[in-house]
């Protein structure tokens, strides 16, 4: 099966019903995307397919064939995507395990709502963070939106 991940084409030999997450982690060794619940509840495994956020633990790899998959590793070459910069500015992560998925969800949010309201954030950022870093996540989302709207980077 042919898969395009972070702009790189891969040919993977897996059963088509294998969840996309495990192809990304085990076959492609992109381990920034995390496994946590396995039932699409927590969002730690969030990646983009054609720019839209999906919970890759519950999406078969076949659903991504021929489409563009983006993971945390593909967000920026140097870790300086505006959302990542905002995350560092607010010192968001604690244990950090959920943050790859969280950041991917937030990038998707900002694509739909370049200047999100708190209500937009509440409705669309449904990932779980067990350290409960939500307070800084919300501030960082607003900082990232401001950065992008003032030319400090793009999505």
């Amino acid at each position: 099966m042919d898969l395009s991940v972070n702009g790189v084409r891969h040919s993977v030999d897996v059963a088509p019903d294998t969840p996309l997450l495990w192809v990304i982690r085990d076959q492609l060794r992109l381990t920034g995307t995390k496994f946590s619940c396995g039932i699409a509840q927590c969002g730690a495994c969030t990646v983009h397919i054609d720019g839209r956020p999906v919970r890759s633990c519950s999406v078969p790899v076949s659903a991504a064939a021929g489409k563009a998959v983006t993971t945390i590793e593909g967000l920026s070459p140097d870790g300086r995507h505006p959302v990542q910069l905002a995350w560092m500015e607010l010192d968001v992560p604690q244990c950090g395990y959920c943050q790859s998925g969280m950041i991917m969800s937030v990038v998707a949010l900002l694509k739909r709502h370049p200047n999100p309201t708190d209500a937009d954030i509440d409705a669309e950022v449904t990932n779980a963070c067990r350290c409960s870093t939500y307070h800084r996540i919300r501030q960082a989302i607003h900082v990232a939106a401001a950065k992008i709207s003032t030319g400090g980077g793009s999505l």
Partner: protein, 780 residues
């Protein structure tokens, strides 16, 4: 890979194959065999440095980067940064050049601590110039308390004690290294060391203005012993320049780029994956399984049965026996094991347990005649003369930590060496387990610490390492990566015990307590059963009795965030609200007066916390209908006069008529003792713990049905999301005259009593059992 690879001396390097950021590690056996793994960006484990260390905590490289060895585990509480700050404060190095790295638990098995770390300077917890008198306790390094005498002293991460227990020797380590760097420069220049000083890694000879750098003299310093290490003094807070400032956590850049290497991310050449099923009824084991049914499934290699992990290796807890399936990939192993028929051999008495009969037994235990832990005055007489008696019974459920990273460990056992990669809050204990299971001495066990996807109590208190070591020991020469599903993670963890409490108070005609009696009950093995009520009452009553009751159940209990305090603070503070309402008095002023009546050593600090939080919140100012404020005290150690952590919070809570709870704002008054180390980390901890305990108040519970934990994934064990985060969290710090007890686990507990009291104020409904999702919160 075979055993031979590990013993071939001509292999001079490891292979690291980096495919688009992923990590594959090869092996070699180095001259000093500690953690000789190439250090991929984002890995945290100890690596043999290229430059000789100055001391066990400090390596200065020729490029001026400074490796600081971290003996605790980063769980998100900030030790990766705060431990490094404590060393760097004294070292006077350039903070931007500091690169933390975990200390080697293997070296800790082989070397004893330097003598200069063994004595705490100063005069106790109320001396700002000293180390703050940590309790040495049991010096057994595989124990659960105390500070051992092995190289890195205490390597466990628990009880919010990393600063409290480690600060004096970490400051000493920085100071010892600085003084030796200065000695080296003085020797090089042939000048008296008194004429040499340093700042930001630059050493200056003051009379001539000549300079050099730490990196240039580090090799010489490594060979220059300190002539009088016993004379090294550490800086008091008044002299700190780095400690006490807000520093961003040094691991954040790798955690926003997906580069941080967690245990789950470790790949080794030839590695096989293990998926596991453990008996869901604790104390049960495998009766039979049918591997033939899955033998031909893709990638499947073998199945291996494992016994109930040895309780003595995991603090006496009894989990279940189980079976693992090994496969080329984890998903193959997991898919196969789910198709494999397994029959369990389950102790019938355990299978007969459920939440109702467990709780009923605990409630009944409250009437058991036990010796009181505290018995001041004569409660029985006081109750006979009371103008009014108030009695309330509270209950809280079993609760797991439910960290986001499911339990995992990667283990390679060969003839005389064990390598383990995992995130772990207690590598000294894991090292001991590995030695006991394999028969290989601890000095040949290498625990390579990874980043940890949440901890909240010995990384789950479960047997992830012990299961993996057992399986790898049966497959010597093959690296085994064991990974639990979320459901297995719920089985293989210890729980905060279910708890009940009955509180009674005798009030005089003015509503002040003349007697308070508190009876609490948990599983007999639960830690922290004395929290919040021990020693002396925080709220004065001339007659006071506190007794600890218990019963024994089969659910393994352990140290979840806050240990005993979250439940006990919920009981105590809820009851204070109930008493204030019964007395017709303001709950803030009622608490304040009752603390003022005590003779507790830190009563002024407790009053200050209440006053500051009340003032911040606008206490007493009118609120719209459907909104209420509640105040509560949080303290750890306030009764004893040693270390303590004292704070108070006011929660402003609204309740929609359909029962929607919303915490609108939280005003936090939190002590900083003499000084915090990294106030930014403390702010983050407070913000996070408020929501952690919001979850406890509102949603989280694990019930027992037919002896099993019923809620075992995030569809039924609920985690709040960002929409429930309080829009306003205001934090103000105030100084006190003692060193703090730490604050990484038992802050924010007051949200539990605050929400239940706000619900009462608004709706008239008083609920005393958590979580609130089980109750009708509607009102009109």
């Amino acid at each position: 890979m075979s055993d031979n690879d590990l013993t071939m001396p001509n292999l001079s390097r490891r292979d690291v194959l980096a495919t688009a950021g992923a990590l594959v590690i090869g092996f070699w056996l180095p001259p000093r065999a500690d953690a000789q793994i190439i250090h991929p960006e984002g890995a945290a484990w100890a690596v043999e440095p290229a430059t000789e260390e100055v001391n066990a905590w400090v390596v200065v490289n020729p490029d001026e980067t400074v490796i600081v060895r971290i003996g605790q585990t980063e769980l998100g509480q900030g030790v990766w940064t705060s431990n490094a700050m404590m060393v760097a404060e004294e070292l006077q190095c350039d903070w931007s050049k500091v690169r933390p790295q975990y200390a080697s638990a293997n070296r800790d098995a082989k070397e004893m601590a330097p003598a200069w770390t063994l004595k705490v300077p100063g005069n106790g917890a109320q001396d700002p110039s000293g180390g703050g008198e940590p309790e040495f306790g049991d010096r057994n390094r595989t124990g659960v308390s105390g500070i051992p005498d092995s190289l890195y002293r205490r390597m466990r991460t628990n009880a919010a004690s990393s600063v409290k227990d480690g600060r004096y020797y970490l400051q000493l380590a920085g100071a010892e290294a600085r003084e030796r760097l200065l000695l080296a420069a003085a020797k090089l220049w042939g000048v008296p060391v008194e004429e040499v000083s340093s700042k930001n890694s630059i050493i200056t000879h003051r009379p001539t203005g000549r300079t050099t750098t730490y990196g240039k003299v580090a090799s010489l310093a490594a060979e220059t012993p300190h002539p009088h290490p016993e004379r090294i003094r550490i800086k008091p807070p008044s002299e700190w320049t780095l400690m006490g400032t807000e520093q961003k956590n040094l691991d954040v850049p790798m955690k926003v780029s997906g580069k941080a290497v967690y245990g789950i991310d470790v790949h080794l050449p030839g590695m096989k994956w293990a998926a596991v099923k453990s008996c869901p009824v604790y104390g049960g084991k495998v009766k039979r399984y049918d591997f033939e049914r899955i033998r031909t499934e893709p990638g499947v290699i073998s199945a291996i049965q494992f016994p109930i992990p040895e309780p003595r290796l995991i603090r006496g807890r009894i989990f279940g026996g189980g079976v693992a399936v090994l496969a080329d990939s984890w998903y193959q192993a997991k898919a196969a094991i789910e198709k494999m028929p397994i029959e369990w051999d389950v102790p019938p008495e355990n299978a007969a347990r459920n939440t109702d009969n467990i709780r009923a037994k605990l409630l009944a235990s409250l009437d058991d005649p036990v010796k009181a832990s505290v018995n001041l005055g004569d409660c029985d007489s006081a109750f006979r003369t009371a103008a009014k008696i108030v009695e309330a019974t509270y209950t809280v459920p079993y609760l797991p930590r439910a960290r986001m990273e499911p339990g995992n460990a990667t283990v390679l056992v060969t003839d005389n060496r064990v390598d383990i990669w995992l995130g772990d809050q207690s590598p000294q204990e894991t090292r001991y387990s590995a030695s006991q299971i394999t028969g290989i001495p601890e000095t040949n066990v290498y625990v390579h610490l990874c980043h940890l996807g949440g901890g909240y109590g010995r990384n789950g208190n479960g047997p992830q390492a012990e299961q993996a070591i057992y399986i790898a020991n049966k497959n010597r020469g093959t690296p085994i990566h064991l990974l639990w599903t979320r459901e297995e993670d719920f089985i293989n963890t210890t729980y905060r015990s279910i708890g009940v409490a009955r509180l009674r108070a005798a009030l005089d005609k003015d509503g002040w307590p003349i007697a308070i009696e508190a009876r609490t009950a948990t599983d007999a093995e639960a830690p922290g059963a004395n929290a919040g009520f021990d020693g002396a009452p925080r709220y004065f009553a001339p007659n006071y009795r506190f007794s600890i009751h218990s019963a024994r159940f089969h659910i393994p209990v352990g140290t979840r965030r806050g240990v005993g305090a979250p439940a006990q603070h919920f009981y105590r503070e809820s009851f204070m609200d109930e008493l204030a309402h019964a007395a017709g008095k303001d709950p803030y002023l009622y608490r304040r007066e009752l603390i003022a009546r005590t003779t507790l050593p830190y009563k002024a600090d407790m009053i200050k916390a209440l006053d500051v939080a009340a003032e911040m919140s606008g206490w007493g100012k009118p609120l719209p209908r459907g909104t209420a404020r509640a105040i509560a005290l949080e303290e750890h150690g306030a009764e004893a006069g040693h270390h303590a952590t004292i704070s108070a919070m006011v929660h402003t809570v609204s309740l929609g008529k359909q029962g929607q709870v919303r915490v609108e704002r939280v005003d936090v008054a939190h002590e900083e003792g003499f000084s915090l180390v990294n106030p930014l980390s403390v702010r983050k901890q407070i913000e996070g713990q408020i929501v952690w305990f919001y979850n406890d108040a509102m949603y989280q519970e694990c019930n027992v049905a037919e002896g099993r934990i019923a809620e075992n994934n995030f569809d039924r064990f609920l985690l709040s999301r960002i929409k429930e985060d309080p829009p306003q969290i205001n934090i103000r710090f105030f100084k006190t005259g003692h060193w703090m007890n730490g604050m990484g686990h038992d802050r924010g507990t007051s949200i539990q009593s605050a929400i239940t009291d706000a619900v009462f104020q608004i709706s008239g409904k008083r609920y005393r059992d958590l979580p609130l999702r089980n109750h009708d919160l509607t009102w009109s």
